[in-house]
Amino acid sequence: MEGLAGVEKIIALIGAIVVFIFALIGLRGEWKKTGLDDQVTKLLLGLMAFGCVLVVLAAFGVLPRGGGA
């Protein structure tokens, strides 16, 4: 089970980095747009990128404090 968790963490780490990069590229493309939908998209893409950071922290074992599964 430990080995499986290790594989899962590696998959999560690589996936989170890839998604983070593409989210930032998408955010950059939206940056100068000013419509309501564009502003909401910027906010939501930014929060999604933050979610990827959380996954990276989980993959490295920084979160949750005290370990986790």
Partner: protein, 213 residues
């Protein structure tokens, strides 16, 4: 105000170009629909917030230790590694949806179809992952303790939103293939994208609260 602008648009368009007239009307109604949709998302934020704050209250005030004790045994933490993979699947679907809309705007239909298909596939994979987790979570049932009750209520409500989103996107994909939208008028796709991003962001909060806190 809005009616008068519509009438002006009609008067401007009347006797000139029907396309211009339709465009004015479309633009105005699009803004109204967009505002309504964003307000709907705000109301959903309120719904999730009330359940999230109930969970925070239970965890910090009612339960002395977390995960809580059942019959003298402390419940295990949830499987963070599996949830991390499932989270990446959902976040990835948010990015593919964003690129699907961008490709639709730029008229690259093949890439639109690719990204839209990927979004729906990843959304369905997330739901499958959640079903797997429900089957294997060792935290008691829905009504057995505060942990199970909070977890199944909040993630179940989110999962229902994801399910609705998958159906929503499938309908949008079908509509776009039937020519309901063009490259100037695609409000449905915009709404679908906003909804899907919203569902992703709610999961960011739930992932932190249930797996990382």
């Amino acid at each position: 105000m809005s009616v008068s602008i519509a009438k002006q648009g009609y008067q401007l368009g009347h006797g000139h170009d029907d396309h211009d007239h339709e465009q004015v009307i479309y633009q105005e109604t699009r803004d109204m629909r967009l505002l309504g949709f964003v307000l709907f998302l705000c109301s959903d934020v309120v719904l999730f917030s009330s359940f999230i704050f109930a969970y925070i209250y239970l965890r910090t005030t009612v339960a002395p230790i977390w995960p809580p004790m059942i019959d003298g045994h402390q419940l295990p933490r949830l499987d963070t590694a599996f949830a991390a993979v499932n989270s990446v699947v959902l976040f990835g679907s948010g990015v593919t949806m964003h690129y699907a809309l961008e490709n639709w705007k730029h008229g690259t239909r093949a890439m639109y179809n690719l990204f839209m298909g990927l979004t729906i596939l990843l959304g369905a994979m997330f739901l499958g992952g959640q079903a797997y987790e429900y089957a294997h979570a060792q935290i008691g049932g829905w009504s057995g303790n505060t942990f199970g009750a909070s977890f199944f209520t909040l993630t179940g409500m989110h999962g229902f939103h994801v399910f609705v989103g998958v159906v929503f996107l499938a309908v949008l994909w079908w509509q776009s293939s039937r020519g309901v939208y063009d490259h100037e008028r695609y409000f449905g796709l915009t709404a679908g994208t906003l909804y899907w991003h919203f569902v992703d962001v709610i999961w960011v909060a739930l992932f932190f609260l249930f797996y990382l806190w």
